[in-house]
């Protein structure tokens, strides 16, 4: 299997789908001549031309709305947001239009589009550039929310998302773009709503997604030295959610740590905790732990940013608390 970076895997997924279906197109700020702010669309303008790789004026509410209108008439637009930090400018288009038009029109109008781009904290980008907004979109019926953690998942999930008839919010961790991994060639599809065990184990379950899977794997290595064997469950798709995979893991390990980069209040981790206590109450041998960012806007200063974001030491400590 060829090795490639996360961004190359995304590029391959989009290119294959555009090759396969003439109705698929990519639009957004700087996706064409500049090859994308993070070079995800490298070479795609040259390959597919200006009618299918569209540089737009800089206005998220504009090009997300354009995508909604283009989707309703039969195209399958992939709308790239430079980062999800700017998705708030387009949030009415995403939540009140893209997510609801199919329901409000009783199925008369479909909105098959993918809204994708970078999300989460990178290095020292401050409060407005380090947001994790998945809970906002997960709180919206009508949307599907995907957050891959590996290049292979990125490819398989993006291809499926492009073929999906519903609007999909596809959040790529900015710091993962350069990560490499083996990626299956050609037709490789991962169904939405199907999670993955990233590391099997027996002592404690860690639910982590996107970039946090990497952190969980590092913590697992540390814990292994002390004879603690954790299982890492990556839901991959946050909505719809593969809750059965999480439940079966918790029923085996009897312990759960939820790991997320988003701030804790009203977050996705809270939803997992609710469902696990509801369905696995008698299986739990310890209170559910959660490792999240501190509940403050992410600061710029290196030392402050580092202490706000989740780290390996805190994950290790949380797992140990469940085993006390």
């Amino acid at each position: 299997m060829p090795k490639m970076s996360f961004r190359e895997a995304l590029n391959q997924a989009m290119s294959e789908e555009m090759q396969r279906d003439p109705n698929v197109l990519l639009m957004g700020e700087e996706v064409g001549y500049y090859n994308g702010a993070y070079k995800v669309s490298q070479g795609m303008l040259a390959r597919f031309g200006e009618k299918r790789v569209i540089d737009t004026p800089i206005a998220e509410c504009g090009f997300v709305g354009i995508g909604v209108g283009a989707a309703m008439v039969g195209l399958r637009p992939i709308v790239e947001l430079m980062t999800f930090n700017f998705s708030l400018v387009a949030i009415d288009q995403i939540i009140n239009s893209a997510a609801k038009i199919h329901q409000m029109s009783a199925g008369q109008f479909k909105v098959p589009m993918v809204i994708r781009g970078a999300g989460g904290a990178a290095h020292q980008l401050g409060a407005q550039h380090s947001n994790s907004f998945e809970a906002v979109y997960c709180n919206t019926p009508g949307l599907k929310v995907v957050m891959p953690s590996t290049p292979a998942d990125a490819k398989g999930l993006l291809k499926t998302s492009i073929r999906d008839d519903d609007p999909v919010v596809f959040i790529e961790a900015e710091l993962l773009y350069g990560e490499t991994g083996e990626v299956p060639e050609g037709e490789y599809l991962i169904p939405l709503g199907k999670g993955d065990i990233k590391r099997p184990g027996k002592d404690c379950t860690i639910v982590a997604y996107s970039k946090m899977v990497g952190l969980a794997l590092q913590a697992a290595k540390e814990l292994e030295k002390e004879g603690i064997d954790v299982e890492i469950v990556d839901p991959r798709t946050l909505r719809p959610l593969d809750e059965d995979l999480i439940f079966s893991s918790v029923r085996k390990t009897n312990r759960l740590v939820i790991l997320q980069e988003a701030t804790p209040h009203s977050s996705f981790g809270g939803e997992i905790a609710y469902r696990v206590q509801k369905h696995c109450f008698d299986d739990l041998d310890a209170p559910i732990e959660r490792v999240a960012s501190e509940d403050v806007p992410v600061p710029y200063a290196l030392n402050l940013e580092a202490i706000v974001l989740p780290d390996v030491a805190r994950v290790v400590a949380a797992v140990k608390r469940t085993l006390e």
């Binding site: 206005a59 354009i66 209108g69 199919h102 029109s105 519903d166």
Partner: protein
């Protein structure tokens, strides 16, 4: 009074011209009108349009009364703004797309939406084409390329440009027309939509129904522009100031805008000057903020779009009192039948709750519904 002189290079908007108008208030062709701008409309089409005018009037009168009687939760009239809707409806092809606001029921009717469907939508019942999902007057009519109506104002503008852009890409001969009030020229979606359309020369017609009032906010508090039509200049395409109560002028202006769109010359902004004679909605009371403006209302009643068109048709010998009476009778009967019918129609089934949220109901939605159906339920209503 300007006190500070502007330097060379200053660009200042001109005063707005008088609106393009073909019929005077008595329904005569204006004497100075260029005959090539007067649309040729076959007699049968004239009568069809007239019937649609009467339909809108009768429905507005009747359904507002129903709301006042407490039989209907909410209603929005378009009384006095019928020519704006019907002019665009007539000038475009059925295959062209309409992104309506909430005062264009006339376009849906013109494209075949039935009084039955219209009425069932208002009642949100089991025969509502959109299954009780939206507030009254927020219709969706896919068969008529009439897009689902959005409550947040202006979101339909970028979407319309997206459909127009898609038409360019797909090489479809589709023109997209999008409606909004003058209040909607304030939010960002308006400016973003017009900007994208200008850059792409998208085949789109922006129709601003300038009816003077955004609920209680008058035009003067909405913009400092000499006209709404002026705003098109900032985005690189023409704005047309049109008498929105003159159906002939609306047809003529829309045909020109559509011809530009089909020829690849790009978008046009039509400012249709009209007046919101009724309240914003059944939840609004204009007497609170239009006190002392009776003259304004009377002046616009004098410019009534239905009266102007009917006088024009009578003078041409197309419309007779007998035809008028026949239309009114037929339509009143149709409306009564639809209203009688809704009394026999039940409520939307609970299972419809999980339909259309996604293209296919998810497993979790099905489980959620199954659980919901086993739960104790509060009784509806006051009993």
């Amino acid at each position: 009074m300007t006190q500070v002189a502007l330097p060379p290079g200053a660009i200042v908007a001109d005063k707005a011209p008088p609106p393009f108008s073909i019929l005077d208030y008595e329904g005569n062709l204006r004497p100075d009108i260029d005959p090539s701008l007067v649309p040729e409309i076959p007699d049968a089409d004239c009568l069809r349009l007239y019937r649609e005018f009467i339909k809108l009037r009768l429905i507005d009168d009747r359904y507002l009364k129903l709301q006042r009687q407490g039989r209907l939760g909410f209603y929005m009239q378009s009384t006095g703004e019928e020519a704006t809707q019907l002019g665009v409806a007539y000038a475009l092809k059925q295959s062209d797309w309409i992104y309506p606001s909430y005062r264009e029921p006339g376009i849906a009717f013109f494209r075949g939406y039935s009084i039955h469907d219209f009425t069932n939508q208002l009642f949100g019942n089991a025969e509502d084409p959109i299954k009780g999902r939206q507030m009254p007057v927020h219709h969706s009519f896919r068969a008529g390329n009439f897009v689902s109506i959005s409550s947040p104002v202006g979101t339909q503008i970028p979407q319309a440009v997206g459909t127009a852009r898609a038409a360019q890409i797909l090489k479809h001969d589709t023109v997209v027309s999008v409606f909004f009030g003058e209040g909607t020229t304030s939010p960002g979606d308006f400016h973003v939509g017009l900007n994208f359309a200008g850059v792409w020369k998208a085949p789109v017609i922006f129709v601003c129904r300038n009816n003077g009032w955004a609920i209680s906010t008058p035009l003067a508090l909405q913009t400092a522009s000499p006209s709404i039509a002026h705003k098109a200049l900032g985005y690189g395409f023409p704005g047309l100031l049109v008498d929105g109560n003159d159906i002939l002028a609306m047809i003529s202006a829309t045909r020109i805008a559509a011809a530009r769109a089909r020829a690849g010359e790009g978008p046009t902004l039509i400012e249709a000057l009209t007046y919101r004679r009724a309240a914003h909605s059944s939840s609004d009371d204009p007497s609170v903020y239009r006190k002392g403006k009776d003259d304004e209302v009377r002046e616009w009643e004098r410019r009534d779009p239905v009266a102007r068109f009917s006088r024009y048709l009578e003078r041409k010998g197309i419309l007779t009192p007998a035809i008028d009476a026949q239309y009114r009778e037929e339509l009143t009967e149709e409306i009564s039948a639809a209203l009688k019918h809704v009394e026999t129609v039940g409520v939307p089934p609970l299972i419809s709750l999980i339909e259309d949220v996604y293209a296919q109901p998810t497993a979790q939605l099905r489980e959620q519904l199954a659980e919901l159906l086993t739960m104790p339920r509060q009784k509806l209503g006051h009993g």
